[in-house]
């Protein structure tokens, strides 16, 4: 073969097959839809991050100095709404999941490509409605929309914001439906359930939660909207309603939603750790079952958000017990990832740095979750910064770290280019340091009794708050770095080749970026996943 000249012959791939903006807006290719989602969720991430930064600025001083308390209420509400529904829930499934589920199971596309595109349009429409609420004056209910505050007392754009979330919910449902049908129906010959990469198992569990929990949120927000718009009683106690019913229904969705957010992170980690340890995933079956157990038990623990809302002691005890139980499969995963690394040939590439960061931070987030599942401790720290720190360790320390790790890991496949490794390692370090500096002081603050959702606080908490704000600015830098060098590398990065990490899995057997139909020849699978031993043999023979 001739060597590559200055202007190499352009291969046909999904990126250059079809020109112009319309070929993207009307694409049915799961890979292009994944890119559309990636651009959208990145925008929402930085929008939500901006609100967070403004909140941290406000909290530099004990008195409300930058915003008045009403505006501060809007800041944390919009931060929560944007981050939960427009970044964390769609983040990994709609981007990496959309791109790699068909490739990992050896399919040409998802089962329903048109639904896939529709889900993106619905998502964007919901996002626009929410951004409209934001521009017109914002919303200050908190992301939880608790009644009767949301339905009777507040005079902000509650209905519009809830409508945006309601609409975006249908995009979640369509994505979950598409994934389940795809994983059942589109697997390549020989790709049995126990030959699936763990990424697939975990997305399958996520999708089950998506399709079963999201409709409940939709109907809850619908009832809330009816009560607010028509001033008729459903949840408002003054009108004969039961506000605790709203909380039950809201958390029946929103607790499983935590697993919608973190399971895909686990999916990414389960790919990265074997690749950079050169060992098969330890206890594959157990990790698969643990994913399903998290999805199932996750539906039974919502009451732990309501320990101080008037639950009976007995149901609180049951929910407390079940909340301990759901920690077991999560712990199984952490142990199995650690055991995968044990005596592995570990290389410290950027995705692995993020994965190891995930392991530590997710463990801290999970363990502090157990504090909160304990009835007595929960009464002490509920509605304090302890809770904030706990779920940011899961959501940011877990999901966002996994998202960044996954983006770096799959970047060569998505774009065909390598990112600058040194810079990437540096920013992984910045993210890790910035994250811990932001959120660890919040554990202390919460334990000392600083309540969440206030613009002002007693002066003795200032030191820890300044630390946290300093951390947030470092974290912001850590997030802007990858945005810059990844975009740069898309055009100027080194060519990656099909398998830069020497990873297993069908997605690495095809060109980078992949052709429109993913594979030149439809693949056939004849062995287990993560078979590095066989890969070594083939390299030696080959």
């Amino acid at each position: 073969m001739a060597t590559v000249a200055e202007t190499p012959a352009v291969e046909r791939n999904y990126l250059n097959q079809g020109e112009g903006i319309l070929s993207w807006l009307f694409t049915l290719d799961h890979k292009r839809i994944a890119i559309l989602y990636l651009v959208s969720v990145t925008m929402f991430f930085f929008l939500g991050g901006l609100f967070a930064l403004l909140m941290r600025l406000e909290l530099l001083a004990p008195r409300a100095w930058l915003f008045n308390p009403e505006d501060y209420n809007k800041l944390f509400s919009m931060h929560g709404i944007i981050m939960v529904w427009f970044f964390l829930i769609p983040s990994i499934p709609t981007t990496l999941g959309n791109f790699f589920i068909p490739m990992m199971i050896g399919a040409k596309d998802l089962a329903f490509p048109k639904l896939n595109l529709l889900s993106w349009y619905i998502f964007m429409f919901g996002g626009l409605v929410t951004v409209f609420a934001l521009i017109r004056g914002g919303v200050d209910t908190g992301w939880t929309f608790y009644t009767p505050l949301s339905t009777t007392y507040l005079n902000t754009y509650v209905t519009a914001a809830a409508a945006g979330v309601f609409i975006a919910g249908f995009s979640s449902i369509l994505t979950g439906l598409n994934f389940i049908a795809t994983i059942h129906g589109m697997r390549a010959p020989g790709m049995t359930w126990f030959r699936l990469p763990m990424f697939i198992w975990t997305h399958y569990a996520t999708s089950l939660v998506l399709v079963l929990a999201t409709p409940v949120l939709a109907v809850t927000l619908l009832m809330m909207g009816v009560e607010r718009v028509f001033h008729v009683g459903i949840f408002d106690p003054a009108l004969g309603g039961d506000p605790v019913l709203f909380q039950h229904m809201f958390w029946f969705y929103s607790h499983p939603a935590v697993y919608i957010m973190v399971l895909p992170g686990m999916a990414v980690i389960s790919e990265i750790i074997p690749t950079f340890s050169r060992k098969p995933l330890f206890g594959y079956d157990f990790v698969a079952y643990a994913s399903m157990a998290i999805a199932a038990i996750g539906f039974l623990v919502w009451g732990h958000h309501m320990f101080v809302a008037g639950l009976s002691v007995y149901s609180a005890m049951a929910f407390s017990f079940l909340s301990y139980l759901v920690a077991v499969p999560s712990a199984i995963k952490v142990f199995n990832w650690s055991a995968t690394m044990y005596k592995g040939a570990i290389s410290w590439d950027t995705p692995m740095l993020y994965a190891i960061g995930f392991l530590g931070l997710f463990t801290i987030g999970g363990m502090t979750g157990l504090f909160l599942a304990a009835l007595g401790i929960d009464v002490h720290v509920t509605d304090t910064y302890f809770v904030i720190a706990h779920f940011h360790y899961i959501m940011v320390g877990g999901t966002v770290m996994a998202f960044l790790g996954g983006i770096h890991y799959f970047w060569p496949k998505i774009t065909g280019r390598l990112y600058p490794e040194g810079l990437a390692r540096l920013s992984a370090l910045i993210v890790f340091v910035g994250f811990n500096l932001t959120f660890f002081p919040q554990f202390v603050l919460g334990y000392l009794g600083m309540p969440r959702r206030y613009a002002a606080y007693p002066a003795e908490f200032q030191m820890l708050n300044v630390l946290s704000t300093a951390g947030a600015s470092i974290l912001g830098v850590g997030y802007i770095f990858p945005l810059c060098y990844l975009l740069w590398s898309w055009k100027y990065g080194k060519k990656a080749g099909p398998n830069p990490w020497r990873a297993t899995g069908l997605e690495w057997t095809t060109a980078s970026p992949p052709p429109k139909d993913n594979f030149e020849v439809s693949p056939v699978v004849d062995g287990p996943p993560y078979d590095f031993g066989r890969m070594r043999e083939e390299l030696h023979l080959g």
Partner: protein, 219 residues
């Protein structure tokens, strides 16, 4: 003539059976999401039924049982004609498929016509929740919640009926264009699944809103 199979098979699938099974699974998943959607409303109904039993039974006694029962009969018959339609599609009879789809649509339209007549009668009786609501008796505000749930739940169901009518209409158009055959008729089967599901929801709605207060009904 029916389209050749190669045209019907979408490019992401390898063979027709795979396409059919995947599409059917997709519809079942969709139906489970619908069950969860209505489930939230049934939960709310159950909770408030438990809080306010007297008002809810009084509200139920106020329903027009004759119209409700007629509607139930219409929907059950429509499920029957839909099943016959699916059978016609399976044996490849386009004429009967057309007939049964049309009959199902007519029965669905009867249902919607009666449902909106009922709504209008409720409106005349001041049973629409809000400032104009009126209900004789001590439990008026609790009965208002009964009627609110009634309007939300039957309204959401009626919305599903409208969607169902639209789906049936598009099935008729596609059948007239010759899209379906004994080999390929998955969309008809899926439309049937959806239609039956919406019917089943109504059976539950009928039970909780109409039958419960029957013993107090003023004939």
């Amino acid at each position: 003539m029916a389209e050749p199979l190669a045209l019907i098979l979408r490019e992401q699938f390898h063979e027709p059976s795979q396409q059919r099974e995947t599409a059917t699974l997709g519809m079942w998943i969709f139906i489970s999401t619908e069950i969860m959607l209505f489930g939230g409303l049934f939960l709310a109904f159950t909770v408030y039924r438990m809080y306010y039993p007297r008002a809810f039974i009084a509200g139920s006694a106020d329903m027009n049982i004759a119209l409700g029962a007629t509607n139930t009969a219409a929907l059950i018959c429509s499920s029957f004609t839909m099943a016959l339609g699916v059978h016609s599609a399976e044996i490849g009879s386009r004429r009967f498929l057309n007939l049964f789809l049309a009959l199902t649509m007519v029965l669905g339209a009867v249902f919607l016509g009666i449902k909106f007549t009922e709504y209008y009668l409720h409106y005349l009786d001041h049973r629409v929740p809000g400032p104009g609501f009126f209900f004789a008796g001590a439990d008026a505000s609790k009965a208002e919640m009964f009627f609110l749930l009634y309007f939300i739940m039957t309204g959401l169901h009626a919305l599903h009926m409208f969607v169902g009518e639209g789906i049936l209409f598009s099935m008729i158009l596609r059948n007239r264009a010759g899209s379906f055959s004994a080999e390929y008729h998955t969309p008809v089967v899926l439309a049937g699944l959806y239609w039956h599901f919406v019917d089943v929801i109504w059976v539950f709605l009928f039970a909780i809103f109409y039958i419960e207060g029957l013993h107090l009904h003023k004939w």
